[in-house]
Amino acid sequence: MKAKIGIEVHQRLATERKLFCNCSSTVSNEVPCLTVKRRMRAVAGELGGVDPAAAFEMSRGREFTYQLFKNSSCLVECDEEPPHELNKEALETTLEVALLLNAKRVNELHVMRKTVVDGSAASGFQRTMLVGTDGSIKTSRGPVGILSVCLEEESAGIVEAFEAGTVYRLDRLGIPLIEIATSSNIVDGAHAREVAEKIGMLLRSTGKVQRGIGTIRQDLNISIEGGARTEIKGAQELELLPKLVDNEIRRQSALIEIKNELKKRNPGKFVFAPVDLSHAFSKTHCGILKKILERGGAIMGFRLPAFSGLLGRELMPNHRFGTELSGYAKVVGVSGLIHSDEGLEAYGFSEAELAEVTKLLSCSSGDAFILCGGERKRVAAALKAVFERALQAFEGVVKETRRAEGELSVYLRPLPGSQRMYPETDVTPIKIERKEVEEIRKKLPLSCDERKKKYFEWGLGQVLAEKMLKSPDFTLFEEIVEKTRAEGKTVAGILLESMVALRREGFAVDSIEKQHLIELFSLYKKNRIGKAAIEEALKDVSRGKSVQETIKEKNLELFDDPKLKKLVSELRSQGISDPKQVFSEMMRRYRMNVDPKRLQLLVGVK
């Protein structure tokens, strides 16, 4: 099956401040200090039209609650103050990434407002700007085009979503985010994964991106021949990308089959005529429906002519066309629906009930029906949405935004159009001068391959080199080695292993600063302290002591040769003459103060 596959990679930048204000760009681990509640309205875009996705969300009439956090949310995120100037650091990193992707920069940036009415930005829009276009990235299956490199605001984080609204946290809103969109020439799911990995590595090579869960995520854009563009948002695990792609291709093919089948069946005109079926179920044994009726809700349904068998058609593993329709109902706020292609016995319906429903809905053989229960108004809205989606089955695949759920995806909202963009008039356009770009070009980071080569030269083995490449501390590692000239293998060992072990033991390793490490490794390089002493010193440094203090207090300095010789001869005079024994006794007594290699030479062991 020929498919067009493209991905979008979203990566948070590790800037100190947010994109358009002075808030810290780290997600808070405190409790919210305040909340505000807002409603959103659908508005007309630059070219006059209202975006379908925006209109859809407003029709849901939901209320949004925003949690505010000290240090990481201010009036700008609350939509109570205009944006400040663009964060230069974020722009420079984006230009750097654009250069690494061989993209062509635009000469003047225009900050746009991208309408988001799902509440994920309190202003009703996300600020975004196109920085570069027409790049490419090399992959094992040929080059993949880079359509765009954008710099934008991260959206607010969802805390909780329910029928009547969503609770968001504003600490995440406004963190600088790079969005990279590839062209649709990705070959298949495995290739999509490779591209995502390559882009991820390239982003990490800058040393200027955030690490950890949620800081990078992928969206997929897929359409097959005769299908339509579907955007699948929020794929966080790269391993799932191949399956996600395969399942979407299956889903689109199955929808096309359904379309062809429907055309053959030629069911004639469709009229939306929902019928109240509450009465037919007044004595039902079906637990779900019984509960709904007891709560004063209604059970309604409608007939789908000639749809028999199609609702049960599997689109993806364990995901039938009926499941798809149910997704549309759920978005309106009902818990789901029941359709005639399901095993209805399992619900506990009696034959009489089913006969009554068939009669009330005027279903004949070959027809299908949909049932839905809940609050009357919501049920009516849900059935309408389901009916409209069912009608679209005649067109095959519908343009949709979907949400990744493991290997599958579920319906989220209609695909937004370009109507959702209009200029951010509160920020003036930003000219990018050639000089500025050339300065960045001079300082471009090494690629991962180049970096690995360098690590090998520094004495790291294959495993350690690869581990370091994936570590968030690789820039720290390089800086230490370059500044102190200490051997790479030792530095890497301390950073990747000792620090982790210390953290596990409960030491506050985050309070160890770069300067401390550089100081320790310089002393190490000058043979003033040994490797064991570095690990020991870090314990106290993590408690706030200075390096000098620690070394003095704990007596961590290496012994000089005369002292070593003196100690060795003392041991010998005590009757320990076997060099191996001397060595191990010396190490046992003076582990912190003895460089094992020098001792080996001295006592003559290998």
Binding site: R41, N107, E108
Partner: protein, 445 residues
């Protein structure tokens, strides 16, 4: 601002105008999109293109750039839907639209310059209103941003307001920019004599082009205020940062206290008249408000424009007062410090305002002091400097806001120049501008 002459010439030669589809090739990259107008800021030698994705980008013009026309104007700019007056059994109100953010619209074609909506367009943006009220008339005497208002506009609004209020309506809503909304509310409070119906002034801090537009809720709450039994000029705007309820605040006891927040308008030295939820629930927080009654509203708009508002501050130049005297000003309101002091017994005599205030009073100019603290009452008897000013004949404006004192003095001097009459009127609460009893709960609401 337009494109540079060079770009302009090329576009003309190729018959490409703003809104047309264009293909631009530069440094080996082809960009296709709609040609956008050059906005007022930035480099006029940069072409702005709106790409298919919706993004706008700027491309610097160079002689090697190739520009081709694709299709003709693709702007499908639809006219904004307009509300039309229909027969309805719902209570009738009238709307006077004067401009401001609540009526702003980005005009993309003319280059990002904000244009102002017609009242019919404003109403259309607020579908909530349809089930609450109906409009008798939608009027717009002028459309300006509120920083450009002057007493002439206040007079125009007042005259129009009186005419509408005397027709068969429940109340009147006035949409207005927020920057000087509290000046206009004060002016209307004095100019609309014998007010017997409510008047709501409404603005917005976020424009209608965004999903977070606050004006619609303000307007809905204002509509509910107009259905209440109050007969006061009030500003109705968000009470908190949330979209939950508005405050209706007396037009003479209200001030914009924040540059950008939705809840910028706060009562000063007073409680809000009422708390109004967008669903109509209304709780009056003040008991002694003016009630709806039968009668005829009179627009009493006489206003003396030669009145100034001046701020005294450490190091301020007393010669500013001389300037006003020489310019034949009739009244000066000074924003004095705290209880009502200005630099008087200064080390350097040149810095003392005393001679200038003396001169002003001697030349028949009315000098009134209000406090730059905003909160609290002036009192001339606590400190010697103030006692000196009081002896000279300076009017201490009680707890009146400086802006209100300015508007009031202009209005009073429009009616009388007799010193004693002016003093008496300034110290009589004509529209709730003086609160004779400040209470604990009236601070920082």
């Amino acid at each position: 601002m337009a494109y540079s002459k060079e770009i302009d010439g090329i576009l003309k030669a190729k018959r490409i105008s703003v809104g047309d589809g264009a293909r631009i090739t530069t440094s080996g990259v082809v960009y296709e999109g709609l040609l956008m107008p050059r906005i007022e800021v930035g480099d006029d030698n940069v072409l702005i293109l709106k790409l298919q994705s919706g993004y706008n980008i700027g491309l610097e013009y160079s002689s090697s750039m190739q520009i081709e026309k694709m299709e003709a104007n693709a702007f499908s700019e639809k006219p904004t839907p307009r509300y039309s007056l229909k027969k309805s059994s719902l209570p009738k109100i009238s709307l006077i639209a004067t401009g401001g953010t609540i009526a702003s619209k980005i005009d993309y074609r003319l280059g990002g310059v904000k244009s102002l909506l017609e009242p019919q367009e404003i109403c259309q943006a607020m579908p909530e209103l349809v089930n609450v009220i109906s409009f008798k008339s939608l009027l717009s005497p002028f459309k300006i941003f509120s920083e450009n208002m002057s007493p002439v506009e206040w007079q125009k609004i007042a005259a129009l307001a009186a005419k509408e209020l005397n027709s068969d309506i429940k109340g009147l809503v006035i949409t207005h920019g927020t920057d000087t909304l509290h000046f206009t509310s004060a002016a209307l409070s004095f100019m609309l004599k014998n007010l017997c119906k409510p008047v709501a002034l409404v603005g917005a801090q976020r424009s209608p082009d965004r999903g977070s537009f606050d004006g619609a809720m303000n307007m809905a709450c204002a509509a509910h205020y107009l259905l209440s039994d109050a007969a006061e000029v009030a500003i109705v705007m968000h009470a908190t940062s949330s979209d939950d309820y508005c405050y209706a605040i007396r037009g003479t006891k209200v001030r914009k206290m924040h540059t950008s927040r939705r809840d910028a308008f706060r009562p000063v030295n007073d409680l809000p008249l009422a708390k109004i939820y967008s669903n109509g629930r209304t709780e009056f927080l003040k008991k002694n408000y003016r009630k709806r009654s039968a009668g005829k509203v009179v627009a009493d708009t006489a206003f003396e424009k030669k009145v100034a508002l001046l701020k005294a501050y450490p190091g301020s130049e007393p010669g500013l007062v001389d300037f006003l005297i020489d310019k034949k000003y009739k009244g000066i309101v000074v924003e004095a410090t705290a209880l009502g002091q200005i630099p008087t017994f200064t080390f350097d005599k040149k810095n003392s305002w005393l001679p200038q205030i003396k001169r002003a009073v001697e030349e028949g100019i009315i000098v009134a002091f209000a406090t730059q603290c905003l909160y609290g009452r002036t009192n001339p008897f606590v400190y010697e400097t103030a006692r000196e000013m009081y002896r000279l004949g300076v009017i201490y404006c009680e707890d009146m806001l400086p802006e209100v004192a300015y508007v009031k003095l202009g209005w009073v001097l429009g009616h009388t120049r007799k010193k004693e009459e002016v003093r008496k009127l300034m110290l009589t609460s004509l529209a709730g501008e003086i609160n004779p009893m400040l209470t604990e709960e009236e601070f920082l609401i």
